[in-house]
Amino acid sequence: MWAITPEEMVAIKLSLRVATVAMLVSLPFGILVAYILSRARFPGKIVLDGLVHLPLVLPPVVTGYILLVLFGRRGTFGAFLEQTFGIVLSFRWTGAALAAAIMSFPLMVRAIRLSMDAIDRRSEDAAATLGASPLWVFFTVTFPLALPGIIAGAMLAFAKAMGEFGATITFVSNIPGETQTIPGAIYAYTQTPGGEAGAFRLSVVAVVISFAALIASEIMSRRAGQRRAGFE
């Protein structure tokens, strides 16, 4: 009953890999977009804001289908990536990571942006009057002060990526060993007679991993927050 089969182990490891890669690759973009949304004033900002949040409100299947159209082997970007860098996304685990990253991006950006909005802008002004260029201000003031939010955003994105299903299965299908993550495997079990035990085992694993990610996020951002408030 409790013994995890080798096939399930493959799905668990794949999920961890997909979620980790999705989170790490999207983090720099998430910080950048959050910074732009928090600080910059430009026409069309509301459009950028909308685009970033779109995956949150679209049916995941639609997001997956758009990815398939754009990043499939014959899609605009897909063909370009394959010819130029030899990167194939469709029906590969890398595609699953892309789908997970897109789906978790709004959550990540939102958490980071909120923490950047909460920074007293005069801290940044003070640093600038002391001679720090905008880039220095970002790395020595904005980034460290937003760190709790950045950690929270990253962990939230990781947990969301672990659970991504709709866009993933539409874009890269549900291939065991290649694109079958934990949700995909659970889905497959539920479609198979006698798969209840497997579905149960993987569900427990999903709960444990997601919960651990939340706890870790809470502890890390609390620690960073304490340092920021000066209690260490």
Binding site: D120, R122, S123, D125, A126, A127, A128, T129, L130, G131, A132, S133, P134, W136, V137, T140, V141, P144, L145, R227, R228, A229, G230, F231, E232
Partner: protein
């Protein structure tokens, strides 16, 4: 040293101000909403004018006609915010070092140890900003600005958030910056005592415009305040030499050609030259030398001018023996009863406790 001339239109606020200042401490004085903080921000580069020109120490920082706008971090204008704005994630030492990192060594105006000494913050170096008191935070903020070796130091209401005792702790430090480092300063404040004590020049603002500029004695002694002016903002300056301290009574006695001035605190050793700001509302006039009064300070002089106001008040300016002028705000009734006319010999009485310690500075 500083040339400023800027226009800036905002909803419900327009700034249109020009002034020049030589070295020393320039005070921007006016009620809140008069534009003094806006001017400070324009000079530091934290805000930008619609049109105008700002020159500091020969460097053109802003010239909208020539499309010059130096970015904040290249202006070398130090800025001390009202609440210090220390970087909360850094220690005091790291805060102090922050600006130094961006400053070439050969342009440094003061060494780390000298600044730490001057401001008395040596025991705080390892602490985090959140553990400091308001006064300590403000001294660290001043030190941090100094260590970035600015060409000009702007202090925007640096004492406004502190209680009275802490203000008194910090004022001497600011005086030392002005005198020992010969650093040009702009001091933004609506507290007349601080301005009176520190400023070598005052630019007085109202609703985004310069309404008076000049030495503090001239700006604050102008005849009856302009319409909407505040009668509590009429201030005269007396300069004297400390002759003795009375530690038992916690007082200092100042020699002045027109008589002795008693001050409500101990201000240092005999021989020190002190400038005292006295509000016109705190000056009483007597037509003979008083006796049987608690007031210790009675300065002899002659009425120089009498200006009757539209309301109950009258402003009498007395030229004291020795040349200092002191303004007294009385009622018109009192002027009539005493027969105060030009040339009349009078004594100007000042209660020692009515003199704010903040308003007594060394000069």
């Amino acid at each position: 040293m500083i040339e400023f001339s800027c226009r800036l239109a905002r909803p419900r606020f327009t700034l249109d101000a020009s002034f020049n200042a030589a070295s020393g401490c320039l005070a921007l004085f006016g009620p809140s909403g008069s534009g003094k903080t806006t001017i400070a921000k324009l000079i530091a580069g934290l805000d930008h004018p619609d049109s105008g020109r700002i020159v500091v120490g020969g460097r053109v920082l802003v010239d909208t006609d020539a499309r010059v706008r130096t970015p904040v971090h290249r202006r070398r204008v130090g800025f001390v915010f009202q609440d210090g704005q220390l970087l909360p994630h850094l220690t005091v030492r790291q805060n102090l070092d922050y600006g130094r990192y961006f400053t070439p060594d050969d342009t440094s105006i003061a060494g780390f140890d000298a600044v730490v000494d001057l401001l008395g913050i040596g025991h705080l170096l390892g602490a985090r900003p959140s553990t400091l008191s308001g006064g300590e935070r403000q001294r660290v903020a001043i030190g941090r600005a100094l260590l970035a070796s600015p060409h000009l130091l702007i202090m925007d209401e640096p004492l406004a958030s502190l209680d009275a005792d802490r203000k008194l702790d910090i004022l001497p430090f600011i005086e030392r910056l002005r005198d020992e480092l010969a650093l040009p300063m702009i001091y933004v404040s609506h507290a007349i005592e601080e301005v009176a004590r520190l400023a070598t020049k005052v630019v007085r603002l109202s609703q985004g415009r310069v309404v008076a500029e000049g030495p503090p004695a001239d700006v604050f002694a102008s005849a009856l305040p302009e319409a909407g002016g505040d009668r509590f903002e009429l201030v005269s300056f007396l300069t004297g030499t400390a002759v003795r301290e009375l530690p038992d009574y916690g007082m200092t006695v100042l020699a002045h050609p027109a008589g002795e001035i008693t001050l409500p605190s101990q201000f240092g050793p005999p021989g020190k030259s002190l400038r005292v700001a006295v509000r016109a509302t705190n000056v009483t006039l007597a037509i003979e030398h008083p006796h049987g009064l608690s007031v210790r300070t009675a300065l002899k002089g002659r009425v120089r001018s009498v200006a009757l106001g539209d309301d109950a008040s009258a402003l009498v300016v007395v030229e004291l023996d020795g040349g200092d002028k002191i303004s007294a705000l009385l009622t018109r009734l009192a002027v009539a009863d005493l027969g105060l006319t030009e040339g009349r010999e009078v004594y100007a009485l000042v209660k020692a406790v009515a003199i704010d310690e903040r308003a007594v500075g060394s000069f």
